[in-house]
């Protein structure tokens, strides 16, 4: 009997906080009919916003994937001083406010910042342009691949790689043919998490991009822009598209989530 009670509490809570709001997206968007939904999505600035979001993700995700794998290998397999500090900095984005991230980039590359002179001198725009948006997105989505790969690497151990070595494989061959395949699912799961984070990023990018419509406005920034301009249909339309992507991410996460003791 107590079991059912707990179940009701848990499900009720989830319904109130999660499921209710999620269904609202679908309802509110199609409240105005499918036609409005389509027209808002095909509006040029909105299309550009999605393109920009995807572009930023397309740069940030591979960068963080490579970093995540190399970093995980270093942390698990190598001895070096300051490992604790590296760990702390890799985990920092999980605990840090995106606005603080944005501000720190703003202070570094903006007027009066250490790198301001250098980049302006070479005619390169960092702030209010793509580079700062990529930097911000890379910062906030940094930890995911690394954190997924580290425990997998620890569990697998070095024996397979040692076996490859005794069979004559070079370091590079071992990496490609033995290490990488053994961490493949952890990497994929990490990539899914990283991508979701990139697509959903708001605070840091809002600070560094200047939110210039048609130029430096990502999809998430545009949602807020549309809302402030009282274009609710627009806001909900973009939100629905983002929510649909989120559901796909959820499905991917569920299917790929590492199970305890599952084979690599």
């Amino acid at each position: 009997m107590r079991k059912v009670g707990l179940r009701v509490v848990a499900l009720g809570y989830l319904g109130l906080v999660l499921v209710g709001p999620l269904t609202m997206v679908f309802w509110r968007t199609f409240e105005h009919g499918f036609g409005t939904f389509w027209s808002t999505l095909s509006e040029p600035n909105t299309v550009h916003a999605f393109e920009l979001t995807l572009l930023v993700a397309a740069i940030a995700v591979p960068l963080n994937t490579v970093f995540g794998i190399v970093c995980a290998l270093a942390i698990v397999r190598r001895r070096f001083p300051g490992k604790g500090i590296v760990n702390a900095f890799v985990d920092l984005p999980l605990a840090l406010s995106p606005v603080v991230v944005g501000l720190s980039l703003f202070l570094l590359y903006g007027r009066g910042g250490w790198f301001y002179g250098f980049f302006t001198g070479h005619g390169v725009r960092i702030l209010f342009a793509l580079p700062s948006m990529v930097l911000a997105t890379v910062f906030v989505s940094l930890p995911f691949v690394a954190r997924e790969v580290v425990p997998t690497l620890r569990e697998i151990g070095e024996e397979q790689e040692q076996a490859a070595h005794t069979l004559g494989a070079s370091g590079w061959q071992t990496f490609w043919r033995v290490t990488l395949p053994s961490i493949r699912w952890a990497v994929i799961y990490g990539v899914v998490l990283t991508t979701a984070r990139c697509l959903g990023e708001y605070g840091a990018v809002a600070v560094v991009s200047g939110r210039i419509e048609g130029k430096t406005e990502t999809a998430t920034l545009r949602v807020q822009d549309q809302y402030e301009n009282f274009n609710l249909a627009g806001a909900y339309g973009i939100s629905l598209a983002l929510a649909a992507i989120a559901v796909c991410v959820l499905v991917a996460m569920t299917m790929l989530r590492p199970r305890e003791g599952a084979p690599a």
């Binding site: 900095f89 605990a95 070095e158 983002l242 929510a243």
Partner: protein
């Protein structure tokens, strides 16, 4: 006859060039992406302006509000998150795997969308007649949303690994179900709960996307620290923004330390 075999070549000793390369890459990447910006932030906040900025009435109010509501949301999710994790691990019902998947929604859904739909559901045009827009309750609710998965996901694996034989043993020794939970289950899952709560707290303190629309950021009323920093950047008050931002940074580091400590605490009985 020698009993020892030739030791297998360790990856660490070989290819020191590869060693240096990978470490160099990691250091460079981290420096450019994380360390330098953070250093610039800390640098910008030093100087006389820091204390004035951070102790301004509005800043203090924003920080207090943030800490209070974040703590409340984290604690509520500690209790409900533990219950949810219990139900997911110990209970069986149809659609359980769907429920398990839905828990990750706050991780997958952009926070701005979350704020928008919370407003739609519990704001001026609410279909259920609840209007809490631009109130502290709205902030609390938005933070409940974004922090929901944390405790659930940190407690689930611990519960799964919990040896039910320990509970059987306690029962066979005469312990009532409630005692079993209090003396056997809870001490074992407590580190998991605590690390989940700490991470949830950090997330809640830093949240911006979900609050931008729903909180209405009225100073002293519903303006949280992250929104405060955001506004200060817009108005060009860098010193003010940096000061509060550094406080948030310090809280983040403190949280990471706490989580690390909790991890060591959790495994202390396992070390012989």
């Amino acid at each position: 006859m020698a009993a020892s075999a030739t030791p297998l070549p360790r990856l660490v000793e070989r290819g020191s060039a590869g060693d240096a390369l990978s470490l160099g890459f990691v250091t460079a990447f981290l420096s450019v992406v994380v360390c330098l910006p953070i250093a610039a932030l800390v640098w910008a906040s030093t100087g006389g302006a820091f204390w004035t900025a951070v102790s301004s009435a509005e800043a203090v109010a924003a920080l207090k509000l943030t800490l209070a509501i974040a703590a409340a949301a984290a604690l509520v999710n500690a209790v409900l998150g533990t219950i949810t994790a219990w139900v997911l691990v110990r209970d069986e019902f149809r659609g359980k795997s769907v429920v398990d998947a839905v828990i990750d929604l706050p991780f997958a859904l952009p926070t701005i969308v979350a704020g928008l739909v919370l407003l739609a559901l519990y704001g001026p045009h609410s279909p259920v007649g609840v209007n809490i827009a631009f109130t502290r309750t709205a902030i609390f609710l938005a933070l409940l949303f974004v922090t929901l998965p944390f405790v659930v996901r940190t407690v689930q694996p611990v519960l799964r690994e919990l040896d039910t034989e320990m509970e059987d043993a306690a029962r066979s020794l005469g312990a009532a179900d409630r005692t079993v939970f209090r003396r056997i289950v809870l001490p074992t899952i407590l580190p998991g709960i605590l690390s989940g709560v700490t991470l949830a707290f950090a997330r809640a303190v830093g949240e911006i996307g979900a609050l931008v629309i729903i909180s209405g950021n009225l100073p002293y009323k519903t303006e949280v620290a992250s929104v405060f920093v955001f506004n200060r950047i817009q108005t060009g008050d860098r010193a003010g923004a940096a000061a509060v931002a550094v406080v948030l940074l310090a809280i983040s580091f403190a949280v990471l330390l706490a989580v690390g400590g909790l991890r060591r605490l959790a495994t202390r009985h396992e070390r012989a």
